[in-house]
C-alpha cells in the first residue's frame, strides 16, 4: 500500500511539472486554426486550397478571400507549404490579443505527452550566427545522455562527501567539545549562506588563486570540453553537509551521552568500536529522516552551480548565452525531480531495513 502511495505521489509530481511548466503554451498570440494567404494576381485561393484536402477557404463570400482554415495548432506546418506554392504571394498567421486558451493548453499538453512517449524530449534552439538567419533547432536527445552523465559526475560524489562530512564532523564535535563549539558556529553561518553566494565565493577564490599563482588552479566556468568539477562538487557537498551536520550533531550527542555508551567503554570497547557498532547504527534513523531534504538542497545547489559555471548539464544548459530558447526544460526538470524521488524511495526502503523499531507491543 505504501509503495502504491509513493508511486502515486511520484506520478503526481511528474504530472504537476508537465502541467505547470507548459502553462506558457496555453497562451494564444495568433489564430490556431486559420491563416491568411495572399494569392498572386489572377490566381484564385480556392484553386490553391483544392490541392490540400485538410484545408478550406473560410471567407469564400468575400470579394477577395484570404482566410484559410487549417487543422488546429498546425500553422507552423502549413505556412511554409503555402509560401512555397508558386501561386501564393505570401502567407501569415492572424494575430490575436494574448490570452489563455484552455483548448490550446489541452492540445499542447497532448502533443507534448505524445512527443515524450515517442522518446522526443524537446529541442535546443540556438541563436543563429548572423542576425538575418533563423535560429537553429537541435533535438536534445543526442545530448541528453552526456548531460545526465556530466550532472551525475559531481552530484553523486558531492552528496557522498556531504554525507561523509556531516557524519564525521558531528562525531568529532561530540568527541571534542571545543572543536564542537567552533563547528557549531561555522555551521550556523553556513546555513545562512545562500547557495549562489557559496558558488560566487568559490569562483572568486579560483580567480584570486589563479592571479596569485600565475596559472589556472581550477576551472570556474565551462570552456569547450573543460568542465569545472571542483565548484559544483563543493557547492553540492557544503550545504547538504551542513544540514546533515545539524541533525546528526544532536543525534550523535544524544547517543554519546547515553548510559549504554559508557557501559560499552567500561567493558573495554575502543572509541572506534563504539562509533561503528553503536552510534552509527542508532543514529541511522535521524540520518534517514533528514536525507531527503539534503538531496533536495543538493539538487537546487546543482542547478545554481551549473548556471553560474555555465555548465551544459541538466540544470544549467537552459541559460546558456548561445541559446535563444529551449522546449526541453520540462523534461530535464522532470529527470532531476525523478532523481530526488528515487532517493526518497531508497531512503524509505533503507528505513524499513536498517532502523530498529523499539515500539512496545500491546
Amino acid at each position: 500500500m505504501r509503495i502504491i502511495k509513493a508511486l502515486l505521489i511520484g506520478v503526481l509530481i511528474l504530472i504537476g511539472i508537465l502541467l505547470i511548466s507548459n502553462i506558457n503554451r496555453g497562451f494564444e498570440t495568433f489564430e490556431q486554426d486559420k491563416i491568411r494567404v495572399y494569392t498572386k494576381v489572377n490566381m484564385k485561393l480556392a484553386d490553391v486550397v483544392a490541392a490540400h484536402p485538410e484545408t478550406a477557404v473560410v471567407d469564400a463570400d468575400q470579394r477577395v478571400p484570404r482566410l484559410v482554415s487549417i487543422p488546429y495548432g498546425e500553422a507552423g506546418k502549413w505556412l511554409p507549404i503555402f509560401r512555397q506554392d508558386k501561386r501564393v504571394a505570401g502567407a501569415d498567421t492572424i494575430p490575436l490579443k494574448t490570452h489563455f486558451s484552455m483548448k490550446k493548453y489541452t492540445y499542447e499538453i497532448q502533443s507534448q505527452v505524445k512527443q515524450l512517449l515517442n522518446g522526443n524530449f524537446g529541442h535546443l534552439i540556438y541563436t543563429a550566427y548572423r542576425p538575418t538567419d533563423p535560429p537553429r533547432e537541435v533535438p536534445i536527445n543526442p545530448q541528453l545522455g552526456k548531460m545526465v552523465a556530466r550532472t551525475l559526475s559531481y552530484l553523486v560524489p558531492g552528496l557522498a562527501l556531504g554525507l561523509l562530512l556531516g557524519y564525521a564532523l558531528s562525531c568529532l564535535a561530540a568527541w571534542k567539545q571545543k572543536v564542537g563549539r567552533v563547528l557549531d558556529a561555522f555551521h550556523a553561518v553556513l546555513l545562512g549562506l545562500p547557495d549562489f553566494f557559496v558558488v560566487v565565493l568559490l569562483q572568486m577564490l579560483g580567480i584570486l588563486l589563479a592571479k596569485a599563482m600565475g596559472h589556472n588552479v581550477y576551472n570556474i566556468m565551462q570552456f569547450g570540453d573543460e568542465v569545472p568539477f571542483l565548484i559544483p562538487f563543493l557547492a553540492i557537498a557544503i550545504l547538504p553537509g551542513a544540514i546533515l551536520y545539524g541533525t546528526l550533531r544532536l543525534a550523535v550527542q544524544r547517543e554519546w551521552d547515553e548510559g549504554y555508551i559508557k557501559t560499552a567503554h567500561a567493558k573495554g570497547l575502543s572509541r572506534t568500536q563504539v562509533l561503528y557498532t553503536h552510534i552509527l547504527r542508532n543514529t541511522a534513523h535521524d540520518l534517514l529522516a533528514v536525507l531527503p531534504r539534503a538531496v533536495s538542497v543538493a539538487v537546487t545547489s546543482l542547478v545554481v552551480a551549473e548556471v553560474m559555471c555555465a555548465i551544459i548539464g541538466l540544470g544549467g544548459y537552459s541559460v546558456d548565452r548561445r541559446l535563444a530558447g529551449t522546449t526541453a526544460l520540462p523534461a530535464t526538470c522532470a529527470i532531476l525531480a525523478a532523481f530526488v524521488m528515487v532517493t526518497h524511495l531508497l531512503v524509505a526502503v533503507l528505513k524499513r531495513r536498517l532502523v530498529v523499531h523499539t515500539k512496545e507491543g500491546a
Binding site: I9, I13, T98, G192, D195, V303
Partner: protein
Amino acid sequence: MRQARNARILYGLSLALFGALMFVVFFGSYIMPHYVDRDHRLLYDTVIVDGMKRSVAAPFPPSSEFWLGTDHRGYDILSLLLNGAKYTIGFALAVTVLRFLIAVPLGLLSGATGKGRSVLTTLHLVTSSVPPLLFIFPTMYGLHRVLPPEQRDKILVVLLVVFGIFQIAHQFADRAAHTSERLFITAARMMGASTRRITFVHLWPHLRPELLYAFLTELVQVLFLFGQLAVVYVFIGGGETFEIADATPFSKAVTIDLTRVGEWGGMIAYGTTVLKQYPWIILSAGTFFTAAVLILIFFAKQLQRRLAEPYLFPSRPLTEDGPRLAWIGVTALACLLLLIVGVDKKPPHYEDGYVSKANQTRN
C-alpha cells in the same frame, strides 16, 4: 546568571540588527548616497594611462565616490541596493504573509476537525519532495516569451505562494491535532463549542507564540528561493535592456537586463552574468542578500530561545520600562526627522521599452 546575561545580550543584538534591516527596508531611498536617474549617472570617466588621457566607460570599480562601484548604466550600486531592499524584503514579506493567511486557518481547521488531513498530507508530500525551483523555473522560463513583466510577476506570486502553503498548513495541522487532544478542548467540545470557536478561541492562543518564529523561518526560505530564482534570471519587476555592444552584419546586439529599482534578485541576476569582468557587482548584491538572511536567521534563533526560555528574559510592561520607552521614542523621532528633513532619492519611473546603450551621449 551569566547564561541569562549572555542570552539577553544576544537577543538585544539580534533585535538591533533586525531593526537596522527594517530601517534600510523602510528608509533605504532616504539614505542613498547618490540619485539613481539619467541625470546623475556616470557613464564615462577619464583616466590617465601611460601619461595619456583615456576615456573609460562604466561600470567602474569601487572608489571613494562609489563605495560599491557602478553598473553598466553608471548608477551607484550601493544606492541601487539600498533602494532595492524594500522591493526584495517587501515582496518576500508579502509572499510569506499570503502563505500564512491561507495556510494557518487551513491547517488549524484540518487539525482540529481531522477533515482533509490526508489530502493536505499528500499535497504537502507532492510540493515538498521536490525543490520548488524545479516547478517554478520552467514555468517562468516559458512565460518569459508570452507575457509582459507585470503579468509574469502575478503568476510568480501565485506559484511562490502555492508551493509554500501546504508545508505550513501541514505543520499547523499537526500542532492543532496535538493540542486538540488536550482536556480543555474536549471540555469545550462537550460544552457545545463550535469547531470555529474551538479553532480560533481555544487552539489559536496556544499556537500564536510559535507563529512569529515560523513566520521568520518561512521568510528566510522565501528569500533563499528568490536567490535561486535570480540566478536563473527570474526576478520581480523586470527591468530595462542595456545594449553592451551594437548589432553588426555578423552578430546580434549584446544586451543584458538590468533592474531599474535595484531589486536584489535583479542585481544578483545581473552580477552573475558579468561575474568574471566586474566581480564587485555580484559580491555587493550577494553580501547584502546574505547579510539580510543571516540577520533574519539570527533574530529567529534568538526569538525562539526567548519563547522557549522566558525565565531568562525578565521584562516589565512597556509603560513601566523607561529605557525601552526611551529607545523606542528616540528611534521613532529619528525616523520622523529623516522623513521631514531627508530627501527621497527613489529612481523615477521611465517609460517601457527604453533601451539604453553603452555608447550614448556623455552626461
